[in-house]
Amino acid sequence: MLDWWLPENVSTFGRDIDWLFHLIYAITGVTFVLVAAAMIAFLIMYRDRPGRRARYTHGNTTLEIVWTIVPALILVVLTALSAPAWSKIKMTRPPSDFVVDVTAKQFNWQVKHPNSDKVFLDEMHVPVNKVIHVDLKSQDVIHSFFVPQFRVKQDAVPGRSIIAWFEVTKPGKYEWPCAELCGFGHSGMRGWIYVHSAEDYKKWAAENLTAETGGGAKK
């Protein structure tokens, strides 16, 4: 309940997104309660009763101005607060020497780790507390790279190469579904992202990436 149904966040920019999320929860929640309370109060107070006549009024210019300006101001502030996070997540990205090549296809993620040609299916391994760039491509239809706990989503568009990025703050195994309808096998198209400590990642890479280059897990 404390997280308002959001899954646990484990990425750096996820905090910015969750903060905005909670802010909008608060704004819309308060607005909804006020509007609903006013509506219910009016429906009770002004219900049809014998002998009373409705108020004959066509409106009020001051009120019109107030309820135009106030929502406009709130929305301007919200836009201003959204801009830095958007800029940080999508318009710029911190540099990184760790680039994972992900090519989506119906209905798998094909993953190549840095300094290796070996293709892993639906499985990615990255170190914790490090900026990871994902070079996202698709070889057939549009797919979408979605890791709920990283708060990251980016469509993979055939014919384009799009860089997405994230930095995870907690080691673990995270589910990695496709979020864009991509055909009859869309449901169930998912992989796992394993986030290791720096040493564990080195160990994993030594055992799995250098051994047989270009063979193994490739299907």
Binding site: L6, F32, T57, L63, W86, S87, F146
Partner: protein, 581 residues
């Protein structure tokens, strides 16, 4: 012009009584309105059953849907992934293009515009007839897709290319082609209608009916018609291009031949966002019509209401990119679309506050149309507020393509458009068919719809925030979604009861049609012109003279008036305009 048309029509009136000319190929705007209404309600049954199939699969994945084994013999009634994709694709396609548009724009546009501006018919009655029959043909083409090899379209109602552009990606062949052809034909029918509405409103208003004496529902339909005229050609072009990609080997959207997948999204949403307002504006107009009548009060801020709809119409063209924040479109462009999207929330807020202002100090009568109009306002508030989450680009990164979006769209198009449509049906039924609907069944229908609508769709926000993607076949395939599966079961119970509640409406509708109490001229003591015509209005609507308009449409509870309403056509005391009655 209207005088000329009227004479011509009167001369023909005696010959127009054959069954075919009266009920099938009718040029009477009221008959065409009824035809659109019946078409929309029939399609709503199909769209609703498809929705229940989707809900069944989500709650109890891969179990047989009761009754479906008759159709799906091979699987014993279990939905396969491709059938499931078809079901949600066609649910949305049918509900948007063949239920809400025909009912709100087709039926209410045809019925209300001439009667409420004091015209004897549409400007182009034959074109009007064609508009219905072209739309009906589109409906038949769309339904025929269910019977072709490979099944119907299964790429979502948004049909993103290249999934939709290359047959082997979905395994759907003629289904998707027929989807394109049906929407193309529907676009032509809609264009015929919108030209007619615009011409009629500009040219054929009764004497004294200035633009700013028009009822707000006419304003809303006028603006809707302009949006239809400008937006639908973009869709018709896009579906033609898609069809050419699929059948003639062009390559607009598939990168293998040099095409650009995002071009489809730009074209689709450039149509698609004005489309959302096409779906909601008439419902806003209907609510603005009903709230004053049953609050016995003038609408609060008539000009603000009209101008906010005009503002929405302009802004609707420059917000469409908010559907594409994570599509690969330039993120800088995304920022610009955030600004416009935040701006378009303002006119919607203005409308909501003015509806509340209309209730304030009123004498509120809880009739069935009023309940649905109030339901519309409250559900539209939720749908509007949830839109703010998506407008904030960083938040949208997370909730894009989740059930939060599904919740939002249903609060707007079901809580908004469909509640508005029901409000309108209960309100104008007496005028349309000359009989009253049963209020008890109407109340039961409202409460069932209101409760089970929220029961079904509110938890979608919750599972969407929890991360459940839209258009997935089986949430139980994902470990992070399994803990919230009970919500899917809960929602499906709600959906089944929501569907069952609609039976009350069907019974009420048909029972009232044949056996309802005869409707008086003006059952709701309303001011607008349609209530001065007989129930139901005859061909050409009024006798020798069309009404003359002396005032705005919402003069309720004027302290100087004897009654608590003052019809638009009632001559001011001492004006000596008796002949107009």
């Amino acid at each position: 012009m209207s005088a000329h048309a009227a004479t011509a029509h009167t001369a023909h009136a005696h010959h127009d009584t054959s069954f075919v000319r009266t009920y099938v190929f009718s040029t009477d705007h009221k008959m065409i309105a009824r035809q659109f209404l019946f078409m929309g309600l029939f399609m709503m049954i199909i769209g609703g059953l498809l929705a229940l199939m989707v809900r069944w699969q989500l709650a109890w994945p891969e179990t047989a849907v009761p009754g479906l084994s008759v159709i799906l013999k091979d699987t014993g009634g279990i939905l396969e992934p491709s059938t499931y994709n078809m079901a949600f694709t066609m649910h949305a396609t049918i509900m948007i293009f063949f239920v809400i548009m025909p009912i709100l724009a087709g039926a209410f546009g045809n019925f209300c515009i001439p009667l409420m501006i004091g015209a004897r018919d549409m400007a182009f009655p034959t074109l009007n007839m064609l508009s219905f029959w072209v739309t009906a043909t589109a409906g038949v083409i769309m339904l025929s897709g269910f019977f072709v090899e490979g099944g119907h379209a299964a790429a979502g109602w948004t049909s993103y290319a290249p999934l939709s552009a290359v047959p082997q990606y979905t395994g759907v062949n003629w289904g998707q082609n027929l989807w394109c052809i049906a929407l193309f034909v529907m676009g032509i029918g809609s264009m015929m209608g919108s030209i007619n509405y615009i011409t009629t409103i500009i040219n054929m208003r009764a004497p004294g009916m200035h633009l700013f004496r028009m009822p707000l529902v006419v304003w809303s339909l006028f603006i809707t018609a302009i949006l239809l005229l400008l937006a639908l050609p973009v869709l018709t072009s896009a579906v033609a291009m898609l069809l050419f990609d699929r059948t003639l080997g062009t390559s607009w959207f598939a990168p293998s031949g040099g095409g650009e997948p995002l071009l489809w999204q730009h074209l689709f949403w450039y149509f698609g966002h004005p489309e959302v307002y096409i779906l909601i504006l008439p419902a806003m107009g209907i609510a603005s019509e009903i709230l004053p009548v049953f609050s016995r009060k003038p609408i609060f801020g008539y000009h603000a209401m009209a101008f906010s709809m005009i503002a929405i119409a302009f802004l609707s063209w420059i917000v469409y990119g908010h559907h594409m924040f994570v599509s690969g479109m330039s993120p800088s462009l995304g920022m610009a679309f955030t600004v416009t999207t935040m701006v378009i929330a303002v006119p919607s807020a203005i409308k909501t506050f003015n509806w509340l202002g209309t209730l304030w100090g009123g004498r509120i009568q809880f009739t069935v149309p009023m309940l649905f109009a109030l339901g519309f306002v409250s559900m539209f508030v939720i749908g509007g507020l949830s839109g703010i989450f998506m407008a904030s680009t960083p938040v949208d990164i997370y909730i894009q393509d989740t059930y939060f979006i599904v919740a939002h769209i249903h609060y707007v198009v079901f809580g908004g458009s469909i509640f508005g449509a029901f409000a309108g049906i209960y309100f104008w039924f007496p005028k349309m068919f000359g009989r009253m609907m049963n209020p008890l069944l109407g109340h039961l229908h409202f409460w069932s719809t209101f409760i089970f609508f929220n029961w079904t769709f509110f938890p979608m926000h919750i599972i969407g925030v929890g991360g459940q993607m839209r258009r997935i076949y089986n949430p139980m395939q994902y470990e992070f979604l399994q803990h919230q599966q009970h919500w899917n079961v809960f929602m499906t119970y709600g959906a089944l009861m929501l569907g069952a509640g609609m039976i009350l409406f069907v019974i009420n509708f048909f029972w009232s049609l044949f056996a309802g109490k005869k409707a008086p001229l003006n059952p709701w003591n309303s001011n607008t012109l349609e209530w001065t015509a007989p129930s139901p209005p005859p061909h050409l609507n009024w006798g020798a003279h069309v009404p003359t308009v002396y005032r705005g449409p919402y003069e309720y509870s004027d302290p100087d008036a004897r009654e608590d309403f003052l019809p638009q056509s009632q001559a001011p005391v001492g004006a000596g305009a008796r002949r107009h009655h």
